[in-house]
Amino acid sequence: MKTINACLSFLNTTKLHLALAIAATFISPAQAQESPYIVTYDHYLEEPGSLEVEYFSTFGTQRAGNDFHSFWSEFEYGATAWWTTELYFDGQTTFNDSTIFTGFRWENRFRLLQREHFINPVLYIEYEQTSGADKILKEVEGHDVESDYAIPNAIARKEHDHELESKLLLSRTFKGWNVAENTIATKNLTGGNPWEFGYAIGASRPLALKASAKRCSFCRENVIAGIEMYGGLGDRYSFGLHDTSHYLAGVAAWNLPSDWTLRLSPGFGLNDDSHRFLLRWGVSREFSGFGDMIARLIGGRKP
């Protein structure tokens, strides 16, 4: 019965993805200048009315267990110039085990200041409903350690998190360099679990600052490269670095004139509680005019 339910939920998710993908083919694409970070957020939000459809994968090594391939889809929409809302669907394959859907997340980011300042703060609020088998490692917090991920899927999926996650995103761009710092505080809403903390920092820069006079795929300005570091900081009762995992990763994004963005990020665990190696990659496409299209379809507004 559980298998049937899992299959149905997977099929439902697939149908939703398909419906959104079909809708997306009817609206115009727009070339984005996407950040290369996988974990860290800078202060830039989605352009109003644009939908960005993204797919990401993470391959992770696992000591005392099976390696895994986790994956997630993101649907990121610019509701206004100061508010971006985003829906995630997560899943994972653990080698020699199984492939399962592991939950969803609903994320919102709010720009706190109207103009650019020396440092630009953005408030991040996310609600997530994921199973204990979730392995996307989109953020690392509390006492998350590698051994948490060695539990077989059949057991891990019985546990569920209903979490409220907040982040303060601070970011600045100067002379082409973006530097971003995220402070994470997460509360599991079920049970009396304490607040957990984490961090992510990143720096990146396009390979060239001036744009070329002609459109090109292989121009240096289309490639943004950088580095990011992230990890846990314990919880309310045991704040600090003990029993926490930390990662250092190179990041690169290639913004193609054909409206696609490709990302690659090899990451390395920095202590014995971290996965030794995480290889992440992703592909995304931005569609402008999505809001107008929905308004026309549902609201009956003329183009």
């Binding site: 727009a30 829906l87 969803f104 409903q129 001036k210 006079a213 999505f290």
Partner: protein
Amino acid sequence: MTKATGHIPITSAAFALVFVLAVPLVSAQKQNSAPSKKDNSVYAELAKAPRKAVARRNPLETDPEAVAAGANLFDQHCAECHGEMAEGGRKAPSLLADPVQQATPGTLFWILTNGVVRRGMPVWSKLPEPQRWQLVSYLKSLNPAPKPAQ
């Protein structure tokens, strides 16, 4: 990672998706009300540029490729809202209008950098400075059609 036992209701995911799809409807309808007033209030933002910003000169003023590169950038990032010929659209005002064409390069650069967030224009500081100046070069190269004599 702290855990708690329970079940994920799949219907919650569907509700979340419906909500996310409803957001564009509300926000898109909001953005399209009273365009003329909106245009004026966006143009009024030009006057808010600090003196120091207004006085900045375009370092790529003499760059022969700046206008062509700026045109590409405009096509990629701006045309969706401002129109392919910068004539304006439902979401954003014309950039051929006098307030924009008479603004100094420094003022346009300041607006690009800071956006007009409350009026729907995002900040464009994610484009490196030289690219923003290339956009300014392009905008200043546009020649609006002369107005018919009264």
